[in-house]
C-alpha cells in the first residue's frame, strides 16, 4: 500500500510548494492580462465613455447584435453632429469602449457590470435586453443613493429594454428605456373594441417559463381585454384548486389560459382546447419560437379566429423568420416602426450596418441620446480622477430627466415610480411584413 502511494502520490510538502508556485504564476498572468485590458480601454483623448453589453451568443443572439449596432450607429450620429458638451463647455465625443457578450445569463451580466464599474472609465453601463438579467444586475446596485450602510455598487445602468413590472424600484441607480405595456394593451383593446364590434369572445395562451411573457399575459393583456368588454371564454380548470382559491383575478384568468413552455415542440393539446372554446380572438403571449409553434398548430387544427393578438417582444423580424404565413394578421403594439423621419433615417443606418431596429434595439439607439441629454445636464468633467463623482452626477441628471425625443415621439419618465412611458403604434403582419395599422400618437 505504501509503495503504491509513494509511486503515485507526491509528498505533501512538495505538492504544497508546487501549488504555491503555480498560483503565483497564474495570478501574475491574470493580473497581467487585466492590466493590459484596462490600459487598452482607457484612451488618451477626452471622451465620455460608455460600455454596452447584451446577448451575443446563445438563442438570444439577435438582441445583442441589434442593440450593439443600434447603439454604435446612434453614437456615430451624435459624434458626427459635434458630440456632447461637458461641464467646462468643451464638446467631446461619446466613446463606446466595448460591447460585451452577456448571453442573457445573470452571472455574466453581473461580472460585466462589475468589470465596467471597477476597471473602466465608463460613466454608465448600457445593457441589457433580458428582464431576468436586469433583475439580477439591479440587485447588486446600491438601493438608495447616499445610503452609507448599503454597500451596493454605485454605477448607473441604462438598460435598453428589460420588460418586467417593478424592476425600477430595485435600485435608484437603475434605469430602463422600456415601453409601458399596461398603457399599450389598454389602448389596443380600447381601439379594437371600437374597430371590431363583431368580436365578443377571447381566449389565449402563454409560455409559463418565461417571466415576461407570463406576467404580461396574466396581469396585463387578459385584464386589458376584459376591461374593454371582451368575454374571456374557456372552461374552468378545477385541478388548479389552491391557486384559484387565492381569489386574484389574474390567477383565475391564468387558470383558464393555455400554457406551454418556451422550448416545447408539441402544442396539440393546447390548440385543441382553444378550438373547443371557439373564441373570436386569440392571444398568443409568447416569444417567437413557441408563438410560431402554437400558431402553426392552431392553423393545422383549422382554428380560424377573427383576430390574433401577440406579445410586444414578438413584433420583430424573428417572428417573420419563424412563421410568416401563420402569423399573418397578428396585431401587436410596439414601441418602434419607421413612421417618422428620424425613425426612417435610423432604420436605414442600422439596417445598412447589419442590424434590425425593433422595439428592443430602437431603445438602444434612443439611449445614446438619453446619455447625451444626461451628460449635458450633469456637467461632468470626463476625467478618470473624477470618475465616481461623474457617475453620481450622471445618475442624478438621468433621474431628473422627464422627457426626451424618442424615435417616434417623446419618451417620458415618471420620477416617482421610475418607470418610462413611450409612444407606441399598432402593427400587423400584412403580406409577410410588419405594417402600421393604427397610430394612436397625438
Amino acid at each position: 500500500m505504501h509503495l503504491c502511494r509513494s509511486m503515485f502520490r507526491l509528498n505533501v510538502k512538495e505538492e504544497i510548494k508546487i501549488m504555491k508556485k503555480l498560483f503565483r504564476g497564474v495570478s501574475v498572468g491574470l493580473l497581467g492580462c487585466a492590466l493590459m485590458f484596462s490600459a487598452l480601454t482607457s484612451s488618451a483623448e477626452r471622451s465620455v465613455k460608455v460600455l454596452g453589453w447584451g446577448a451575443q451568443s446563445g438563442p438570444l443572439k439577435s438582441f445583442g447584435v441589434n442593440s450593439e449596432t443600434a447603439l454604435r450607429s446612434a453614437v456615430a450620429e451624435i459624434n458626427a453632429a459635434g458630440g456632447v458638451k461637458l461641464g467646462d463647455g468643451s464638446m467631446v465625443p461619446i466613446e463606446v469602449i466595448g460591447y460585451e457578450d452577456s448571453a442573457c445569463k445573470k452571472d455574466q451580466n453581473i461580472a460585466i457590470l462589475r468589470k465596467t464599474a471597477s476597471t473602466t472609465d465608463a460613466i454608465v453601463g448600457m445593457g441589457t435586453t433580458c428582464s431576468g438579467s436586469c433583475q439580477a444586475m439591479f440587485g447588486v446596485l446600491q438601493k438608495k443613493v447616499g445610503d452609507a450602510s448599503d454597500s451596493g455598487l454605485q454605477m448607473p445602468i441604462l438598460a435598453d429594454t428589460c420588460i418586467r413590472p417593478g424592476l425600477a424600484k430595485i435600485s435608484e441607480w437603475a434605469f430602463r428605456n422600456v415601453p409601458n405595456e399596461i398603457a399599450m394593451y389598454d389602448a389596443l383593446f380600447a381601439w379594437l373594441s371600437q374597430q371590431h364590434p363583431d368580436i365578443k369572445t377571447f381566449s389565449g395562451g402563454t409560455e409559463t417559463d418565461q417571466g415576461h411573457s407570463f406576467i404580461t399575459h396574466t396581469a396585463v393583456i387578459v385584464q386589458a381585454a376584459i376591461k374593454h368588454g371582451f368575454d374571456w371564454v374557456g372552461p374552468a380548470v378545477p385541478e388548479l384548486g389552491p391557486k384559484v382559491k387565492q381569489g386574484m383575478k389574474e390567477l383565475q384568468a391564468a387558470a383558464k389560459t393555455q400554457h406551454w413552455l418556451m422550448g416545447d415542440t408539441n402544442y396539440s393539446v393546447q390548440a385543441r382546447k382553444i378550438k373547443k372554446q371557439n373564441p373570436d380572438m386569440i392571444l398568443v403571449s409568447s416569444h417567437p419560437f413557441s408563438a410560431c409553434g402554437f400558431l402553426k398548430e392552431i392553423k393545422r387544427q383549422r382554428v380560424k379566429p377573427k383576430l390574433l393578438v401577440g406579445l410586444t417582444s414578438s413584433a420583430s423580424q424573428e417572428t417573420l423568420n419563424g412563421c410568416m404565413k401563420e402569423a399573418e394578421g397578428i396585431i401587436i403594439p410596439t414601441g418602434f416602426a419607421p413612421i417618422t423621419a428620424q425613425a426612417q433615417k435610423a432604420n436605414t443606418i442600422v439596417t445598412k450596418a447589419g442590424g434590425f431596429l425593433d422595439l428592443h434595439s430602437a431603445a438602444a439607439w434612443e439611449n445614446a441620446y438619453l446619455v447625451k441629454a444626461a451628460v449635458e445636464a450633469a456637467g461632468i468633467t470626463a476625467k478618470s480622477e473624477t470618475l465616481a463623482e461623474d457617475r453620481a452626477k450622471f445618475r442624478d441628471a438621468l433621474a431628473t430627466i422627464t422627457a426626451i425625443d424618442g424615435l417616434i415621439g417623446p419618451v417620458t419618465r415618471d420620477t416617482a415610480t421610475g418607470e418610462a412611458s413611450k409612444p407606441y403604434v399598432f402593427v400587423q403582419v400584412v403580406d409577410g411584413k410588419w405594417k402600421v395599422i393604427h397610430d394612436p400618437r397625438g
Binding site: S62, W260, T265, V269, F289, C292, G293
Partner: protein, 298 residues
Amino acid sequence: MEDFWYEVVEVSQSIADGLLFGSTYALIGIGFTLIFGAMGKLNMAYAAAALGGAYAGLAGFVLIKAPLVLVFGISAIATAALGYAIYFTCFRFIPVNNHLASLMASVGALFFIDEVVVHVTRGSPLTFPSMFGDVYFELGPYGIRGDLVFVFIIGLISTGVLLYILFRTRLGLATRAVAQQDIAARLCGIGVHSTNSVTFAIAGVLGGIAGAMTAAAVGVLSPVMTVPLTVKGIIVAVIGGLGSIPGAIIAGLFVGGFENVILYFRGIDERDMYVVALLFVFLVFRPNGLFGTAITRD
C-alpha cells in the same frame, strides 16, 4: 354522461397525438441507445447533431429550393457527417474504458454545434417546411394530423431499415461483434474504429431524419430545442433499456403519449415532473428498462 364521452374522446385524441409525436422521440432515443450499445458510452451531442442536420436540410430548402424528400436526405447525410466528426473528435482517441472523458468531450461538441447554429442564424427561429402539412384526417370527433402519420411511417421505415442493416448485413454483424467483445472482434479482423465510426454515421442518418421530422412536425427550428430533446432522448433510451432498439421505439411512443395525457389533465406545470417521475419508477423497479439490452457489452 355526454361530458364523460367527450372526455374519453379528448383523452384518446391526446394519446393518439402524443403517440404520433412520440415517434420523433423514439428515433432520437434509438440514436442514443445505438451508440451506447456499440460503445457503452453516452454521446451527449447526439440531439444537437440531429438538429444541426435539420438546419443543413433547411439550408438546402432555402438556398436551392430543394424538394422535401431531398431536405430530409440532406439532413440525414449532414447528421451522419456530424456523427462521424463527433466520433473522431470525442471518442476515437480517448481510451475505451474512459467513459467520463468521452462524455465531457461530447458535451463540448454539443456546445460547439449549438453555437455554430446560433452564429449562422443569429439565434432566430426559422420556419421549416412540412410534408403533408395541410393534410388533416377527420374521423368523427377525432382529428389526425397527416404529417404526424407521415412522421410515424417514416419512423417505422427507418427503424426497419436499421434493423435490417444490423441483423442481415456484414456491417451490422461487425457492429454487433464490436459491441459484444471488441477484442475478439479485432481478432476476427474487424476494424474497431472503422466499425464504430460507421455506427455513429448510421446513428447520424437516423438522427438527421429525426431532427428533420421534429422540425417538420413543429414547423419551426430553433436552438432552444436542443437541451429538451437531449434530455427526452436520454430518458426514452433509458426507459426502453439502453442498447435495445425495440425498447427505444416503444419507450418513445409511450413517453410521447404519456406526457400528452398528463398535459391534458394536469397542465404544463406538472407535465415534465410526471415524466421524470415515470423515469424514477422505471429506475427503481426495472433499472434495465423495458427490454434490457439486446446489444450487450461484456
